[in-house]
């Protein structure tokens, strides 16, 4: 049993002093980063997978910084085991990630797997976790299929999933329908599991709210699509009032930049409830947001909630990295905090089922929690339950070099964004009928 001791986050110098990064097991693999305790000193090893190259590399870099902040906070707080975190580049490929995850477990003796930005990668790694009975803590992928149809005992997620975001988005659109009279909605998402599940979750929430709408088109560009012009033309041709998108990261920025060169925004509002409010999008918007505005949210915001903990997290990140974080940082931070607390609660890492029990119902006070609320993990879905704020783009230079940030917030309570138990049962029942044939 480890002794818990509370302490405040120290200055940046202390933060850096607490962090170590180095190689383990001889020469490091290319892209591999080790943080926290050295291999021979560590009591707990966590193997994380993030894209460190390509269009999604910013998520990997910010996640590493988030992990450092978590390790710093844990060290400052005291009472936690010595944690070693290994981060490697999954290159957004399931094949890479599965191989790396297998190596984490077999060679690095990792007791936790964490991270993963792409839901497709996470699906594959989740199966590895299940096979080896190793707890996997998702920090950045969002397909609700992982916590509903595809859930197994060892899978947990500590960032908002597609269901949570789309539930918030559906409620937001329902609220503005009386004012804006929108009716026609089109959807564009990446052609992989996350995109399709997001659309399904969005419709499910709209239907459950009794919103009257007409789905005028669904469009599925591939992940990391370089040119969205064909899709933008097709979207405009379907004449929607609102386009909801699940494009994320560089894909969303590319889409946004291309759409802004057309008359897309003259008659269409664009909503991205899961990732669109990310800081990198604020940067990409410059100081000329689309005329009719965007409806955006993300899994963490630098300027919401306006709490001491969130300000401290964002400022510590800035002090360490010299820039402001994307939401990936807080996801990774949450994952390490959850793992550490679970180890303490379970009294060690020997019994993975004890870790599972410790994570179920685990409460975490995270930077994205508004005053008076703490995130907690739903024991039925292993999905963290959190509030979500949806906002519009407003001029704001508080987080340079961004010229705009989200504002005019509409906040949705965490309890309202959970999938109803009957929906979870229904989806799982349907999935149970499927013949498991996957390799």
């Amino acid at each position: 049993m480890f002794v818990q001791r509370r302490a405040h986050l120290g200055a940046a110098a202390i933060v850096m002093a607490c962090l170590t990064a180095g190689a383990a097991n001889g020469a490091p693999a290319r892209g591999r980063v080790e943080l926290g305790a050295a291999a021979d000193k560590a009591q707990v090893t966590i193997g994380c997978l993030y894209p460190m190259t390509g269009r999604a590399a910013i998520y990997g870099r910010d996640s590493v910084a988030g992990i450092r902040l978590a390790l710093s906070d844990l060290a400052a707080e005291g009472g936690y085991p010595r944690i070693r975190v290994i981060v490697d580049d999954d290159r957004s490929k399931a094949s890479f990630a599965v191989r790396l995850a297998e190596d984490y477990i077999a060679q690095d003796k990792a007791k936790f797997l964490c991270g993963m930005v792409s839901s497709g990668v996470a699906q594959a790694v989740s199966k590895v976790a299940m096979k080896h009975r190793v707890v996997m803590i998702g920090t950045d992928h969002a397909s609700s299929r992982l916590t509903i149809e595809g859930l197994h005992p060892y899978y947990f997620r500590v960032s908002n999933d597609s269901y949570t975001s789309m539930a918030a988005g559906a409620r937001y659109l329902a609220q503005i329908q009386a004012k804006t009279k929108w009716k026609r909605v089109a959807f564009i998402g990446p052609d992989y599991d996350y995109g399709h599940v997001s659309w399904s979750d969005f419709r499910s929430s709209l239907d459950s709210l009794g919103v009257s709408y007409e789905a005028v088109g669904t469009f599925w560009p591939k992940l990391y699509e370089p040119d969205y012009s064909t899709y933008i033309q097709a979207l405009q041709k379907s004449e929607p009032d609102i386009v909801v998108t699940a494009l994320w990261g560089g894909d969303f920025v590319a889409f946004l930049n291309q759409a802004r060169t057309t008359d897309f925004f003259e008659n269409i509002r664009l909503a991205n409830f899961d990732t669109g409010g990310n800081y990198e999008v604020m940067l990409a918007l410059g100081n000329t947001p689309p005329p009719k505005g965007l409806i955006l949210s993300a899994r963490h915001h630098n300027n919401w909630p306006d709490t001491e903990q969130n300000r401290r997290f964002v400022n510590a990140f800035h002090a360490m990295e010299g820039r402001y974080p994307t939401y990936a940082a807080e996801g990774a931070y949450s994952g390490i905090m959850a793992a550490a607390k679970a180890v303490v609660k379970a009294g060690g890492t020997k019994d993975p089922d004890a870790l599972v029990r410790a994570l179920e119902n685990l409460e975490l006070k995270l930077p994205e929690d508004p005053e008076g609320f703490s995130s907690f993990i739903d024991p039925d879905t292993h999905q963290i339950v959190q509030a979500q704020a949806v906002g519009e783009v407003v001029p704001d230079t508080s987080f340079p070099p961004a010229k705009v940030m989200l504002g005019k917030w509409t906040v949705f309570r965490a309890e309202d964004l959970r999938p109803p138990p009957e929906l979870v049962r229904s989806r799982r029942a349907k999935a149970a009928e499927a013949v498991e044939m996957s390799e």
């Binding site: 957004s92 490929k93 399931a94 094949s95 890479f96 599965v98 191989r99 297998e102 792409s118 497709g120 699906q123 594959a124 299929r145 149809e149 595809g150 052609d191 992989y192 599991d193 995109g195 399709h196 599940v197 399904s200 088109g217 669904t218 469009f219 599925w220 560009p221 591939k222 992940l223 990391y224 012009s229 064909t230 899709y231 033309q233 097709a234 041709k237 349907k430 999935a431 149970a432 009928e433 499927a434 013949v435 044939m437 996957s438 390799e439």
Partner: protein, 558 residues
């Protein structure tokens, strides 16, 4: 004035032609260039575009064919498919890496049946058959053969699944030659259709992919193409990139512009017609009085005058017409007067000749009778007869002078000398009537006239003034130069004056208001002045009296 034959009608027709003809010409040009544009767009460039698109799709299919060919020939694959035997995870890793591209939903392994027995999720995997209860059902799907590869599908997108196709090859057969099942790539249909690119030329040209199950647009959605299609080379049997040309969309702006042009033309024609109709009506109203005036003048009514309104050309024409009528009246009156006077003069001369000689005989006889008459009363009667004969002789002299005036003998006549002579001759008569005759100083003027004739004129005028004035009246003679060539002489009195209604007639021969006048004094005076190249005017005076103005030529040294 009838519109049919009016000049307004001609202007109307020209204006209509001028406004409508260019529009018809522009409309024709629109048609011509629209047709040429369509021809240019649907010409060679489309063929090149389609060929390039077909090349891209073929290259994509070649890569996938090579991939499936590599996998299907992998030696340990049939055993893995059948039993799952994979020592060291070698085949699992191979399949995962091969599946890990955005263009693949996954890799499927089949035995002899239609449903997959093993599946490997690819990067784009979603829904069936990876994470859904909906199994992949290939029954009824079209199969296209391309060498050793079967292309199954495409399967159009549904609510829960994107469109896809399978590229399947038989796995390496067993040593005995028995079939060991097959392996298929689960390919994104949109990865093929995206290669066609988006609509071009503002949506006029839409690329579509023709497949055995129908047409798909660039984002992989089923479409029903328009009527005009340009076909590219086949990439597989039954698979063909095509371009849908929407001529309506291309032509519609031209058609709309042409229709707009024609509507504008029709409106211009209508407005022109209405304007010209109204204009012609107004013009008719203005010209009709001119025509009536001309007809009236032609009929001899020289006193007809047109009402002048406005300040435009027609008003100017009316003024000119009225001026012309007035001058015509004056000329006719003058000619008639001259002819009348000539006839009168000839008649008077003839009569005077016939009367003057007998009158001399009668006078001699009466004198002879008077000399022999003792009775004083009868002697007085004879003297009266003789006196009347003398008066009659003077009348005859006047008639002769009027009817046969002497040509003027011009010489330099200083006006002051003229005035002096008249004063000497007439002052006595004026004084007898207690009148004042005042010749003004006028040394400057020298007239070029017949001295005696002008003295006679002056005396006639002074005599008229003496007769018109009451005792104490004044008669003034004035002279002044009037320009370089003439001088003006005025004879003014403050007598009884001339009534305005007879002012124009007092110079007519035989017109007189005196009981014993002959009515020839002023007529002769005017005649003599005109013979000397001058003019005589009698001007009405605002106050009492008469002003006679003579305008006479001045003497110029040769």
């Amino acid at each position: 004035m009838r519109l049919r034959s009016s000049i307004v009608r001609k202007y109307l027709l020209i204006s209509l032609l001028g406004s409508v003809a260019p529009m018809i010409a522009v409309g024709a040009l629109y048609d011509r260039y629209a047709g040429a544009l369509l021809e240019q767009i649907t010409g060679e460039r489309l063929t090149a575009q389609l060929t390039a698109t077909a090349s891209r799709i073929t290259a994509f299919l070649d890569v996938r064919s090579y991939q499936i060919e590599t996998l299907s020939n992998y030696p340990a694959l049939p055993v893995f498919a059948r039993t799952g035997y994979d020592p060291g995870g070698e085949i699992g890793s191979l399949l995962r890496i091969e599946a890990d591209v955005p263009d693949l939903y996954g890799i499927l392994l089949f035995d002899q049946g239609p449903k997959p027995i093993r599946i490997v999720a690819g990067q784009a995997a979603s829904g069936a058959p990876y994470w859904s209860n909906l199994a992949l059902d290939l029954s009824g799907k079209p199969v296209t053969r391309a060498g050793d590869t079967e292309v199954i599908g495409p399967v159009p997108p549904s609510e829960d699944q994107s469109g896809y196709l399978l590229m399947r090859q038989a796995m390496r057969p067993s040593p005995s030659g028995a079939s060991q099942g097959s392996i298929a790539l689960h390919v994104r249909l949109a990865s093929i259709t995206e290669l066609m690119g988006g609509p071009s030329l503002a949506g006029i040209i839409q690329p579509v992919l023709k497949t055995p199950v129908g047409f798909f647009d660039s984002v992989g959605k089923p479409v029903v193409p328009g009527r005009k299609l340009a076909a590219g080379p086949e990439v597989l049997p039954g698979w063909q990139p095509m371009l849908v040309i929407d001529p309506d969309q291309l032509i519609s702006p031209f058609v709309a512009a042409r229709q707009g042009l024609f509507v504008t033309g029709a409106l211009v024609a209508i407005v022109t017609f209405v304007l010209f109709t109204r204009l012609s009506g107004k013009l008719r109203d203005r010209i009709t009085p001119l025509v009536k005036g001309a007809e009236a003048v032609a009929a001899g009514n020289l006193d007809y005058r047109i009402t002048e309104t406005g300040d435009d050309e027609i008003s100017g024409l009316a003024k000119t017409f009225n001026a012309m009528s007035g001058r015509l009246r004056e000329n006719v009156d003058r000619t008639m007067k001259v002819e009348r006077l000539a006839a009168l003069g000839e008649f008077a001369t003839g009569v005077a000749h016939e009367i003057r000689n007998p009158l001399a005989t009668i006078k001699t006889s009466v004198q002879a009778l008077g000399r022999g008459e003792a009775d004083s009363e009868r002697k007085d009667i004879l003297r009266d007869v003789e006196s009347e004969i003398d008066r009659l002789a003077r009348v005859m002299e006047d008639v002769l002078a009027f009817g046969r005036p002497h040509p003027p003998q011009r010489s330099a006549v200083p006006v002051d000398e003229l005035f002096r002579r008249v004063f000497v001759l007439m002052n006595r008569a004026a004084e007898e009537r207690q009148l004042t005759l005042m010749p003004a100083d006028s040394r400057a003027a020298v007239l070029n006239v017949d001295r005696d004739q002008i003295i006679q004129v002056m005396m006639n005028l002074v005599i008229n003034s003496i007769q018109a004035c009451q005792a104490g009246g004044h008669i003034t003679l004035r002279a002044r130069l009037d320009g370089a060539d003439s001088a003006v002489i005025e004879v003014e009195d403050d007598g009884s004056g001339i009534a305005p209604d007879i002012l124009g007639k007092v110079t007519d021969p035989f017109f007189t208001t005196k009981s014993r006048g002959t009515g020839l004094g002023l007529a002769i005076s005017r005649q003599l002045v005109e013979l000397n190249g001058g003019e005589l005017h009698i001007a009405p005076k605002a106050t009492q009296g008469t002003l006679v103005i003579l305008q006479l030529p001045t003497w110029k040294e040769q």
